[in-house]
Symmetry: C2
Subunit: 367 residues, 2 copies
């Protein structure tokens, strides 16, 4: 599978939910598999908060493959011998699509905090524009987990004729205050970090030494991605032995995990992008723009596959089940699976063997 | 009820679990009710992380009564017409007992990070010393929630003949990694705050403008004290209307709650004390110093009352139940109650009418 990051440039305006306009803008994306003659084999994959368009395959020199590499590839559940998979970087992100540190045309200065507030609705509008530019007006399926699952659901509601199948994992119909509170840790930690400097930091300022505020916020994030059970399995009360110290003076392994992962992350991710994307997650509410959640859900025409994880402490299974129940009451086509897992929210990235067959089956049914 | 903060000074050394010695030290405490002629009516009350010895009554000019005022008083579940209640401030705290910002005798400079690591075991050892000084060698009951519940349990194990009754709420037999991870947010946020200055800040430096790091850490704390259910009930997805703005630009009520409570808290609590107390919570493990948890638990002679809350996301009910099961297997005297509540961990401070009768009953049985 030949890997390549492509960039699509748009000079037409993107009208945002906030009333503001993004113009010009660009979207980074990857594709896996070949487009067939009538462009009827497209699967759109949507990424989560910290993800990117690099969903599958391994770049030369990289140690890690794309975030859903186990799922996407030749002969895998999302089979690139059959399908043309398109994975885009959301607008607002820092991995190639237009975001807050992009130049605020016609100036060559970054937007910074002048970048418009973005929503999940805006993200998918931009994605749909990309697909139009590529000559794709209908897709076989839209698949995503967490914020990617939100995008899939929003597509189902906003563009009911666009996708045959919607496969949404570990998401919700509207972000609940519990999750907003976790995000609040990151927002405050970034905002109050002196090096963030109210967004006036230099581009790439944190490559050598990540922003503490982002690392701290990310600890709260990791708590919500794991679960009490997965932490017990993974760390228990073990402490770091190579500190060579008695328990009272050492670090616990769970502490080391948090330090290591978050410090690395804060060198890789732009804190301003983080603020904007987290805000988009907070404001996610399928019913906004419609009279009620019912009025939003009843619009859906796609076949819906909803997958949640029993130990997800960020988006609880009952939130996904709620969508399923509404669709069932409306006699819409919906299937719901609660996967038994100890991995918490992260299960959608980790325990693929527990649900990849569901995705495979859903896609095969639509052939 | 006449209120008074008393201070007891100790010039004898306190031998700590770490091997270090605290000398001299002092303990702040309050008492409610009268000691009877044979000093047989004492109830010791233990506070949680952010609490103090001010558990009941209202000081002149104060708007808020002590943190368990609904529970402790004349005619209340812990009836001060019958009992002499003693509530102490833990060592390490910043409300009158010796802590990291106390003078490192014989110098008049604060200990700061030279203060010894403290454990729950150390805290109760100091409390027991205080009671000895007051001529009290046996108590009717020891009662506490969260870190206070840990102290009660540690008393039961370390000093099996000291208390007739142990009443522990919303605690655990050993702090689990999930909780250590929440505490990690606070530890990192404080440690990385430039104004914390590696502990070299001036005493009372944060009275006017609280330390951001503590406020940020406290947001994570508040998440763990509440529950998804209580946040849904309390805040939903409401946003702050008096910001006069469309959802996309405003703050959610849950965000305002977090900002308000944590900013206030960071003016009132010393960040170094917070670090030391959080560390004591992290290292809490009833079995440390014994061959196993069984060997610790089997020592208990007191009548045990264990109370947990169904929606506690910090110390899960099954952790308390585990102690109960062990005691039952050993044919020790134990009662366990899981209170149905939406309030999360905070329930032990909020929903007193759901469990005060249990405490009342336990105390009456022992008469």
């Amino acid at each position: 599978m030949k890997l390549e990051t492509k960039i699509e440039y748009f000079t037409t305006p993107l009208y945002l939910e906030s009333g503001r306009i993004l113009e010009p803008y660009q979207i980074a994306y990857e594709t896996y598999g070949e487009l067939n003659h009538d462009a009827s084999n497209v699967i759109l994959v949507c990424h989560a908060l910290s993800g990117s368009h690099h969903a599958a395959g391994l770049y030369e020199g990289d140690r890690k493959a794309g975030w859903w590499d186990e799922l996407i590839g030749d002969g895998k559940a999302i089979d690139t011998q059959k399908y043309c998979v398109i994975s885009t970087n959301v607008i607002g992100s820092c991995f190639g699509s237009t975001g807050p540190m992009s130049s605020n045309y016609p100036s060559d200065k970054p937007y910074r905090l002048k970048f418009p507030v973005l929503t999940i609705k805006d993200m998918i509008k931009a994605q749909k524009q990309l697909l139009s530019n590529l000559g794709i007006y209908h897709v076989k399926a839209i698949v995503g987990g967490s914020m990617g699952g939100m995008q899939a659901l929003q597509f189902a509601v906003d563009y009911p004729n666009f996708a045959e199948q919607i496969i949404s994992l570990a998401a919700t119909y509207a972000t609940q205050p519990w999750t907003i509170a976790f995000n609040k840790v990151a927002m405050e930690a970034i905002r109050r970090d002196p090096r963030f400097d109210n967004g006036q930091y230099e581009k790439d300022a944190f490559i050598e030494e990540g922003l503490d505020g982002l690392a701290i916020g990310r600890i709260a994030g990791h708590i919500s991605y794991l679960s009490p059970e997965s932490m017990n399995d993974k760390f228990g009360r073990n402490y770091v032995n190579n500190d060579g110290l008695f328990e009272l003076f050492g670090r616990y392994e769970v502490e080391r995990y948090m330090e290591y992962n978050t410090s690395n992350f804060s060198k890789l991710f732009d804190p301003m992008s983080y603020l904007y994307i987290v805000k988009a997650i907070n404001t996610f509410n399928l019913s906004r723009g419609y009279d009620s959640l019912y009025d939003a859900i009843i619009r859906i025409k796609a076949k819906m596959t909803l997958i949640s994880f029993s130990s997800d402490y960020l988006f609880f299974p009952k939130e996904m089940e709620h969508i399923h129940y509404m669709m069932q009451r409306n006699e819409q086509n919906s299937k719901y699976f609660e996967i038994d897992s100890n991995y918490g929210h992260d299960a959608f990235l980790v325990e693929l063997d527990k649900f990849d067959y569901i995705i495979k089956q859903a896609l095969e049914e639509s052939n």
